[in-house]
């Protein structure tokens, strides 16, 4: 092949470059001059295996943004959401986040990433100083660890340690009542599975010291077949089983364990069962699986929560997920803080948001609070119950006690050297 162009920069490309340069300098200026709308950037996972969760985050945000805009916007400015796919990759999430602020001119950020991406976006927020709410990462350290703390970042997701305390105390009460001493665990073999299982068993043993873990299984994430795990657990003959498998892995596991009649032989505690994504997919949901609440429109049992779940279903033709309520809460808090601050400025919103309590359909007592000292959401509805195969799926949820959660959380933070 012969080369026809001379190397170096041609006149034409120089002009093009100059033009592009002028555009990029001019663009933010134009955006600021108009200043009618406010752009909120949102990296989330819209493709790949957990795309459904990212989509449900987007849906929930749009549902709430519509309401805020109809009521006059964020301190008088209409919200424009700029939502981008991170494909679930942390480096892509960070790149998208940076681009949203620097190129698209987003002034606020909703980080709807899973934990791996959230830590990456958190560093971008630290670097750029942009106001940011993490909506989906449940990893406790994101807000509990003082090294992570920055004044402009908050979290509206549930927190792993809260779940473990409530789950552990709920399971311990049943263990004591039914004399369940021999326990097995079966959780996916990656950071979330290992950490969550360790925290759950920690609190289970704390509330019921006689409990003994006699068998552990760690199937791979997205494993197709669990038969050997199921039979291994059957051999161990535990009285109860804990699992934090989720999504398609959990439904596979249930189908495969079902034909071994496993659910009749032991009490099963599956923290991620009571989420509509799993509940509506499993065809033969066994009765009586204990699960933590993720999102369920019947808990808290208030008309506000039921109405919110129905409105979401009516608009998107499916039920909300755990990620949905966490994202909706972020917009609710943001709107209330902007109203109080009478400004859509990120710094001012952050100031007001600290310690702010708002009315919220997902609150344990009808309200949720953005805790001031570690910028994480507290007071949300959290509880455990048992499943039935049809709606409402989890008819009765036993609510966790926030007083106990606070006490044990403080103790846990101390043990980790966070306080």
């Amino acid at each position: 092949m012969t080369r026809t162009r001379t190397p170096g920069i041609s006149r034409r490309s120089t002009l093009a470059l100059m033009g592009a340069g002028a555009m990029s300098v001019a663009a933010p200026w134009v955006a600021r001059a108009q200043a009618k709308t406010i752009k909120i950037g949102m990296p989330t996972i819209l493709s790949g295996r957990v795309a459904q969760l990212g989509t449900s985050s987007r849906n929930a945000v749009m549902l709430e943004v519509e309401k805020v805009n109809a009521a006059g916007g964020l301190a008088g400015r209409q919200i424009e959401m700029v939502i981008r796919d991170s494909k679930g990759q942390p480096q892509e999430a960070a790149r998208v986040a940076r681009e949203l602020v620097n190129t698209d001119g987003c002034e606020l950020m909703i980080d709807a990433e899973a934990s791996s991406g959230a830590f990456a976006v958190h560093e971008v927020a630290r670097d750029l100083g942009v106001f940011c709410i993490h909506t989906n990462s449940e990893t406790s350290a994101l807000t509990a660890d003082p090294k992570q703390h920055i004044p402009n970042a908050f979290r509206t997701a549930r927190q792993g340690v809260h779940d473990s305390i409530v789950g552990g105390s709920y399971a311990a009460a049943i263990a004591k009542a039914k004399g369940l001493k021999k326990w097995a665990t079966c959780s996916p073999d990656y950071a979330y599975g290992r950490d969550t299982t360790a925290e759950f068993t920690l609190y289970l043993k704390r509330f019921a010291p006689e409990v003994e873990i006699i068998s552990e299984s760690w199937p791979k994430l997205f494993q197709a077949d669990y038969t050997e795990v199921v039979t291994k657990i059957l051999q161990a003959k535990p009285q109860a089983l804990y699992s934090c498998l989720w999504g398609g892995d959990l439904t596979s596991y249930i189908d495969q364990a079902n034909i071994y009649a496993m659910f009749g032989q032991m009490e099963v505690f599956a923290v991620n069962m009571a989420d509509y994504t799993a509940l509506t997919v499993v065809k033969n949901l066994p009765k009586g699986i204990h699960s933590g609440n993720r999102y369920i429109k019947t808990f808290p049992t208030t008309p506000e929560n039921a109405a919110w779940g129905d409105a979401y279903k009516a608009k998107f033709n499916e039920y909300p997920t755990n990620w949905s309520w966490e994202n909706a809460t972020a917009i609710m808090l943001m709107a209330e803080a902007a109203k109080k601050a009478n400004s859509a400025d990120g710094k001012k919103i952050a100031e007001v948001l600290k310690g702010l309590t708002i009315k919220c359909p997902f609150g344990a007592d009808g309200t949720v609070t953005m805790r001031g000292d570690d910028h994480t959401l507290v007071g949300y509805a959290i509880g455990w119950g048992t499943t039935i195969p049809q709606e409402p799926y989890v008819p009765e949820v036993k609510a966790g006690d926030w007083k106990t959660i606070f006490e044990l959380e403080a103790e846990w933070k101390k043990s980790k050297g966070y306080t």
Partner: protein, 300 residues
């Protein structure tokens, strides 16, 4: 490591029965996928990296047919027949163009179709996971054989796969078509010169391979969740099976798949943290001691 648990299991008939059937189930499904892979390689000399997609399509076809007709038999038929047709079209339209090409070219075409097929599934059935559900006829208490637990559905699954293995083995060695296929694998030029349409044979072999993978997918659909991309992990394990058993050998695929299934079921007891690694370790040992695989023929 938990050697005590493994030893305890080996000395108990209940545990032995449960874990052996558990290994057979994993192995038999794997065999159905791997045998297609090995058959296609044996005759067409193509490593079909998109083979996992047929497993996936088999599962989705079965689920859809089951939802429409509520018949388990029709669901299985739809899974197998649908993927056979798909295999034939895929071979005639695309794969037949790259037979003489570089291995890299074949690999790229196959890989492109892995992505395309995944997206097709995403477009038709959606990105979220699905479940077919166990047919009512099999929602029964498991059988207890010598104290071990065996679900009736898995007995059917093992039976169907075993039947496929026997029909395939006898068909290839005894029937005229089988002999032609073997001849085509050995010397396609001569078979063609004898007036036999090799294109038809190639298409037929690909359809057969696709059908077996589709049948595996259909049989797995009631117990495994269906997602776009579900064929990929099965494909990797099928490769291990064919490498252990020997590329191109049907008996090798059967023995390799069963060994792998048993390694998983007993390995998860004795080496819970190293079950996956155990499979690869076994593959390495076979490769080092017999590079052509257990039943592979020496390269000519």
């Amino acid at each position: 490591m938990d050697i005590d648990a493994l030893a305890g299991c080996l000395s108990s008939s209940a545990c032995l029965v449960t874990q052996t059937t558990s290994g057979l189930i994993i192995g038999m499904l794997l065999f159905l996928v791997a045998v297609g892979l090995t058959l296609i390689f044996g005759v067409l000399k193509v490593v079909n990296f998109s083979h996992g997609a047929f497993y996936m399509f088999g599962a989705y076809f079965a689920m859809t047919a089951y939802q429409l007709t509520d018949s388990f038999a029709l669901a299985m038929l739809a899974g197998a027949a649908g993927t056979a047709v798909l295999g034939l079209i895929f071979e005639r339209v695309f794969m037949s163009r790259v037979y003489g090409a570089d291995v890299l070219m074949q690999l790229l075409v196959c890989y492109a179709f892995v992505l395309i097929f995944d997206d097709v599934v995403r477009i038709i059935w959606g990105p979220e996971f699905k479940a077919m559900g166990m047919p009512a006829a099999f929602q029964v208490m498991p059988l207890f054989i010598a104290g071990g637990v065996v679900p009736p559905y898995y007995l059917l699954l093992i039976g169907v796969a075993l039947l496929a293995a026997i029909v395939l083995g006898i068909g290839l060695s005894r029937s005229r078509i089988g002999k032609v296929i073997r001849a085509a694998a050995h010397n396609p030029g001569m078979v063609s010169a004898l007036g036999i349409n090799t294109g038809l044979i190639y298409g037929g072999v690909f359809a057969l391979g696709g059908m077996l993978a589709g049948l595996a997918g259909a049989l797995a659909a009631p117990v495994r969740s269906l997602t776009p991309g579900m064929g990929f992990s099965v494909l990797i394990e099928s490769f291990i099976v064919t490498v252990i058993g020997g590329m191109g050998s049907i008996l090798g695929a059967l023995i390799g798949a069963l060994l792998l299934g048993l390694i998983r079921s007993f390995g998860s007891l004795g080496f819970p943290l190293f079950t996956e690694g155990l499979m690869y370790l076994f593959m390495v040992i076979v490769l080092v001691s017999k590079p052509t695989g257990l039943f592979g023929k020496e390269a000519a």
